[in-house]
Symmetry: D2
Subunit: 105 residues, 4 copies
């Protein structure tokens, strides 16, 4: 029931699809923030002000990641557990690895 690749016809099985527009808007904003930091460096903006912007964009990215992860647990992982078997275990291992990367990045 859960697929790993993009397939428009069944994309609704991806957890985050319900909030897709909101996620897209957040990524647009993050892209704009990255462009803003590029401009700040280009214009020799004071270092500390740039660091503040980097902290802001990192927080925004963490919040997107935490939202996607929650969606993933609620949909993909839950679906795999309901289907049962080795697939469920694999999904949880995969989610745990992603969480570890987030905590350590």
């Amino acid at each position: 029931m859960t697929t790993q690749g993009p397939d428009p016809s069944i994309s609704a099985t991806h957890g985050y699809i319900s909030d897709k527009d909101r996620y897209l808007a957040r990524l647009k904003r993050i892209e704009g923030q990255a462009r803003g930091i590029h401009r700040m460096i280009d214009e020799d903006t004071y270092c500390i002000d740039i660091l503040t912007q980097i902290s802001a964009i990192t927080s925004a990215l963490n919040n997107v990641a935490l939202g996607l992860l929650d969606d993933h647990l609620s949909h993909c992982v839950t679906g795999a557990v309901q289907d049962g078997g080795a697939e469920a275990e694999a999904k949880i291992k995969e989610a745990s690895d992603a969480i570890a990367r987030l905590v350590k990045s």
Copy 2:
């Protein structure tokens, strides 16, 4: 000797200016990564793959921040300490606050 705003004539007092091209290239790449994540969400890419990309961009941003901070300590803060007085204390307080934001973001 240290200025807070962008002023082309004395911009060389900003620590990061020596590596400016390298920083600009890194920010271009980060902006491209943000655009890539936007596209992944738009195309319903598998959640975990998006999380991996977010960890990568967060690491890249942290490395830029740590580089800027090192430049800042080596130039701005060092300059202020050599000039002496309350300015030096203020610069160190400001740097410590920026470090705290980085550690907690």
Copy 3:
């Protein structure tokens, strides 16, 4: 089937119980590291060496947390999803909140 409080008779329902001895040994070590940092401060050890120890203990704590979280997803959350209903949703919300606290701490 899943309980929230300590109850020896059914403690095996907690996910981490299988590795309990290993977790206890790791916490003993972490407690010893904290005591070591206390002694370093008391003996006026060089600041940077203390910071290195703090980074080590933080990493050790993160690794314990990630292990417990993986166990929790594999056992408690999986059990709740199999039982179905609102309980499953509550468990996932609770796990997501814990992940957010870890990422932000």
Copy 4:
């Protein structure tokens, strides 16, 4: 002027010495928190409650580290910059490395 090892006679050159009692008290509390987590695991406390405690101790350790780092910049690094020369550069490099470890741990 700055020494790396513990030497009671000149320990006052270490930045954190002024708040030493406060740091010692904080470390005592952190050690108690680690012992508390050990007990929670031993008593099969609910996983999520243990994770909450781990986040709390990690935050406490980060705050100690940020305090020590601020003291270090204000005293050791400032002292080295005033003395001038290669020592100052080495101290800043060392501080930057410690900051990187903190951000990444």
